[in-house]
């Protein structure tokens, strides 16, 4: 019982904080609530016997990426989101690639629904996989990551590289070498 109670408390925290992220007017509070959500997720990983994943979540997402977010929010020092015209246009009528965002969002929701349906058919939400303990060990995770899931691993790293190159290209000023 205490473990499933922990599950409901942590998942409630994660969902609640994520919902509040969207609701905030102040981007600073959005970032902080996102950190709360990530921390709750890390707690969920611990209940699933995956302490390494939990700590990676804390270090990479809650630690490094969110510090970067805070840095950008503080650098721009925007007290409020600038709404105005952009907010009033319907998502589908926005110019350029903004429309594709909607398509991606719909896809994401569809995928989520599919994944949830699959999980529901498996039964209990708590407990995770039968071999959860094995996946939790760092040694086994490294082995699986570089053998069974090596394609996904490499594809992800290429994706990150593409994003990095894209960011550099976008950030480079005209005329710079």
């Amino acid at each position: 019982m205490p473990e499933s109670l922990l599950f409901y408390v942590l998942s409630g925290l994660a969902v609640g904080a994520s919902a509040l992220v969207i609701g905030q007017r102040n981007p600073m509070y959005s970032v902080l609530l996102l950190i709360v959500s990530f921390a709750a997720l890390a707690g969920l990983y611990i209940t699933l016997d995956a302490p390494f994943v939990a700590m990676a979540q804390m270090i990479i997402y809650a630690g490094a990426i969110m510090v970067l977010f805070l840095f950008v929010v503080m650098l721009l020092n925007a007290p409020q989101e600038d709404g105005a015209e952009w907010d009033r246009t319907h998502p589908l009528r926005r110019p350029g690639f903004a429309r594709i965002g909607v398509v991606l969002a719909v896809l994401l929701v569809a995928e989520l629904g599919w994944a949830l349906a699959k999980v529901v058919s498996l039964g209990s939400p708590v407990g995770g996989r039968a071999d959860g303990a094995v996946i939790g060990s760092v040694r086994e995770m490294g082995r699986v990551l570089f053998t069974q899931y090596s394609f996904a691993f490499e594809a992800t790293s290429v994706l990150i590289l593409v994003a990095m190159v894209g960011a550099v290209v976008l950030a480079r000023r005209e005329g710079d070498a």
Partner: protein
């Protein structure tokens, strides 16, 4: 006595001891810093309160307790209050997985021997790293919520500095994780027992990972915002940086968090590179034997931490502060490549010798 009650009680006692030891350590560090600074600048340092001025930190904290708590008008109330609490809580929490001694039965009180340390987690290194990386939020939020330009700059610098040096810090740790083949701090320490070269050199990771130790230490100084990397405060440039608008107890919490973080960095350095509570003396002296026999390894541990902390303070009053662009350049162009090369070389060596 009933072991089922006794054991949790002992764990509780351990938490109590560690918590208070950290508070006392920060008081001692305040005194030591002022005294050593005085010595290096050829003056006395504090000498009026108590014998040799030893009660100075307590006088300081009493003074701060009676000060008025000020808050700027435009400050964000919630975050302004939360920031110092966050800083100090993460500083305390980071020490929870740092082991500081071998096993003890507390003079036969416990049936099963207990390991000295609050919690023994098998991903201990990562827990320490994760919690210390949360510590920067206290500083960043303090800077942002004060609604003051100097504080904001301090917070900005803290976050940029943290991102830059965290990478090298983690990469230096990863090399040690590979050498030890474990993420448990206790197992890493136990892997460093014994001697090389007929007992002349203790088996510390410092001697196989000298580059790693230097990188870890530099990044650790940057992470704890100490000179020569104390940019978030930089009193000559930013008044007092992120804590410009703080006063009274809220202000006192920031230096306290800083000193506790210093102790944690020194403790992790001791455990990972300097053999923790093992071996300090050459093998032919019986000292090491008695240290193990009497189970007073934690004294050795304290001595090593003290040495590192002295070096910390020494550095602050010897090396001038970098320029901000130099800090970024140094972090990204020298420290990070050096740590990545160190990691690759270590990985190759581990594969070659252990495969």
């Amino acid at each position: 006595m009933d072991q089922t009650i006794l054991r949790p009680a002992v764990v509780g006692l351990m938490i109590f001891i560690v918590f208070n030891a950290l508070i006392i350590a920060s008081a001692i560090l305040v005194y030591a810093e002022r005294k050593i600074m005085g010595f290096m600048q050829q003056r006395y340092g504090p000498y009026l309160v108590g014998p040799y001025g030893m009660m100075q930190p307590f006088a300081d904290i009493l003074k701060l307790l009676f000060k008025e708590e000020l808050r700027p008008k435009g400050a964000d109330k919630l975050l302004f209050t939360l920031a110092p609490v966050l800083a100090v809580v993460t500083a305390f929490a980071a020490f929870s997985t740092v082991p500081f001694g071998g096993e003890t039965t507390l003079f036969g009180l416990l049936q099963q021997p207990m390991k000295l340390g609050v919690a023994d987690v098998n991903v201990g290194v990562l827990v320490i790293f994760a919690v210390t990386s949360m510590g920067v939020y206290g500083i960043v939020l303090a800077g942002w919520s004060s609604n003051s330009k100097y504080a904001l700059f301090g917070g900005l610098r803290a976050s940029a500095q943290m991102i830059s040096y965290e990478l090298s810090y983690a990469t230096a740790l990863a090399a040690i994780i590979m050498l030890a083949g474990s993420m448990s701090v206790r197992e890493m320490v136990d892997a460093q027992t014994g001697y090389w070269l007929g007992g002349w050199i203790p088996k510390w990771y410092l001697f196989i990972q000298p580059v790693g130790f230097i990188i870890y230490f530099i990044a650790g100084v940057a992470e704890t915002n100490r000179a020569p990397f104390d940019f978030p405060e930089a009193e000559q440039e930013l008044v007092a940086g992120f804590n410009t608008e703080y006063s009274s107890v809220r202000f006192a919490l920031f230096p306290q968090a800083e000193y506790i973080n210093m102790v944690t960095v020194a403790a992790v350095a001791t455990n990972l590179f300097l053999g923790g509570w093992h071996g300090l003396f050459p093998f032919w002296t019986p000292v090491d034997y008695y240290i193990e026999a009497w189970n007073i390894g934690w004294l050795v541990f304290l001595a090593k931490i003290g040495g590192i902390l002295f070096f910390y303070i020494w550095m602050r009053w010897t090396v001038p502060r970098y320029r901000y662009d130099q800090l970024m350049k140094f972090g990204w162009k020298y420290l990070l490549p050096a740590s990545v090369i160190n990691l690759l070389v270590t990985a190759a060596a581990v594969l070659y010798f252990n495969a």
